[in-house]
């Protein structure tokens, strides 16, 4: 009978069993994905993979050297575009932007940019860079990724700066330092570890993005020189190879996925380990 103690105990145990099952299921999916990618990718990782260019279909020995270099090039460009704006914007918000309208508008704009789907960001970069230049380029891809970097850089900068206690700022001011030196020479260095970790995590997030590169950087089966040519990248290669009908390309896609996963996991775990020694991690 409902309401009897035995029934309520049963409901209690059943409900928590269900939640435990949910947890097992979710973690199971995570480990499955990690395991599956490792299993299928590791056999295709080879010297060729890291050093050779893609070969035409049917020819063995092709690799993704240009995609790997391309990904790093794009991340570098994205950092140049997005980090100064993101970090300095974050500094503004943390030090000058509390409670005033400008601060609110800037924060809200950053949220809007953050909410833009990555493919729409690709459209924006297309209209602003590709159309005027009339061709795909690494620059366009870097711009797309860079803009995506801005809101996450703003937020992580602002959070880590806020973590620096007011007392340190006041102590520095009381010693006669001008405000800007307090920020530049005292606050930022104190928060540096957190800031760097934040930047690292942001970059790793952006390195896995595919959609914004589809019609900006586009792709390249050869080495891309400079910034004005289309450039290959790991995520785009994975997509292209995965939807193709060729076995050999599928295997390479798994290998590339493994490399991407390693990069992402390494930065996430590394960031956590770094932060554990300093402050409580703000998710």
């Amino acid at each position: 009978m409902p309401g009897t103690y035995r029934h309520r105990q049963w409901v209690n145990n059943a409900a928590f069993a269900v939640t435990g099952f949910c947890a097992l299921l979710t973690l199971g999916v995570l480990f499955f994905i990690l395991g599956y990618v490792t299993m299928h990718g590791i056999s295709s990782l080879s010297w060729n993979f890291f050093t050779k260019l893609p070969k035409p279909v049917g020819e063995p020995g092709g690799g993704m050297a240009n995609a790997i270099v391309g990904t790093f090039k794009l991340i570098g460009l994205a950092s140049v575009v997005g980090l100064p704006i993101g970090v300095l914007g974050g500094v503004y918000l943390a030090e000058y932007g509390k409670g005033n309208t400008t601060g609110f508008l800037v924060r809200y704009s950053a949220d809007i940019i953050n909410g833009v789907p990555s493919i729409v960001m690709g459209i924006f970069a297309y209209t602003v860079v590709v159309l005027p230049m009339r061709h795909f380029s690494a620059l366009a891809g870097g711009v797309a990724l860079g803009i995506m970097l801005i809101p996450i850089a703003v937020r992580s900068t602002e959070e880590f700066l806020r973590l620096v206690p007011m007392a340190i700022r006041e102590a520095a001011l009381a010693l006669g330092l001008p405000r800007w030196k307090v920020i530049l020479r005292v606050v930022i260095p104190t928060a540096m570890k957190g800031l760097l970790t934040g930047v690292l995590l942001d970059l790793s997030r952006v390195s896995g993005e595919t959609a914004p590169l589809l019609f900006t950087a586009f792709g390249n089966r050869f080495w891309s020189s400079g910034w004005m040519n289309p450039i290959s990248s790991l995520p785009v290669m994975i997509f292209t190879y995965a939807v193709s009908p060729y076995e050999d390309w599928h295997r390479q896609a798994w290998a590339a996925a493994l490399v991407l996963l390693m990069i992402v996991l390494a930065t996430n775990v590394g960031a956590r380990v770094l932060m554990r020694n300093q402050v409580k991690v703000v998710a």
Binding site: M1, P2, G3, T4, Y5, R6, H7, R8
Partner: protein, 277 residues
């Protein structure tokens, strides 16, 4: 424990199967006895060898300076102490002769009501739902029965007249004193044998406080009440017996009038006359 269950005819809840008490039940008196009760938070020895008998159907006040263990003491009585991580308890607590550690804690708490320092009506629930919460948990579904018990409890808590027109409004919309009386009504609805009150008036203004003190004097006709208070005048006003705790020890326990006019222990006298505390 079975005796305590049988002595509640008015609340028609389905009988629950409780495990048999450790020793034969003595009487349906709802008295509490602690025997050499010791508690720890981690390595911090909070209560030291507390042995006392709390008489049924009267008000027992626990007084003492901050940190003396009074709240910890009453939280042991309904086994809320062990909920805190790192908490440990040794000794015996007998309810009508039954050792509470051999009883299911959830069932035990159903028979003991507790009112906290800060009123905590359940958010998102109406006044009616708040009072009915304990009843619903125990399977009462019939709306008429529920309405009946809710009305009785609110009347017992001296809140009925003020809220009878607005039972559907949220419980959090009431004033502090009303919220506390709501929590008392919620505790009374399940017809507990014993009512524990942990500084129930410390967050209230003097008028609300006096209303609750009147309530306590009225309730003691039917319930055993243990009240923790840092306000000595309050203890003198409402309680029949008073226990004075200091740094985890039970210094003195006896008739309230005698404790306040002619304390036996010098430390009690020092505390009452305000030399520390």
């Amino acid at each position: 424990m079975e005796t305590m269950l049988e002595s509640q005819p008015e609340t028609p809840m389905t009988p629950e199967s409780a495990p048999p008490p450790a020793s034969a039940p003595v009487e349906t008196s709802h008295g509490i006895e602690t025997i050499k009760l010791n508690t720890w938070f981690g390595t911090n020895h909070v209560l030291k060898d507390i042995s006392m008998k709390i008489k049924p159907r009267q008000v027992t006040a626990i007084i003492g300076p901050s940190g003396c263990g009074k709240s910890t003491f009453i939280r042991c009585l309904n086994r809320m102490h062990e909920v805190v991580p790192g908490a440990r308890m040794e000794g015996q607590i007998l309810l009508d002769g039954a050792n509470i550690f051999e009883l299911d804690p959830v069932l035990l708490r159903r028979r003991i009501g507790m009112v906290f320092q800060k009123a905590q009506p359940f958010p998102t629930m109406s006044i009616f739902e708040n009072v009915a919460a304990g009843l619903r948990l125990n399977g009462m579904r019939n709306h008429n029965q529920l309405a009946d018990v809710v009305e009785k409890s609110l009347k017992r808590a001296a809140l009925w007249d003020e809220v009878k027109e607005m039972l559907e409004k949220p419980g959090t919309g009431l004033s502090g004193g009303q919220q506390q009386r709501l929590c008392i009504a919620r505790a009374l609805a399940v017809n507990p044998a014993i009512l524990l009150m942990d500084e129930p008036c410390s967050a209230l203004d003097p008028i609300a406080t006096s209303k609750i003190e009147e309530l306590i004097l009225d309730l003691k006709k039917n319930y055993t009440i243990v009240i923790v208070t840092h306000n000595m005048q309050q203890a003198a006003r409402v309680s029949d017996e008073t226990a004075f705790f200091l740094l985890g020890d039970l210094i003195e326990f006896g008739n309230t009038k005698q404790i306040f006019t002619n304390p036996k222990d010098k430390r009690t006298e020092d505390y009452i006359t305000g030399r520390f505390g």
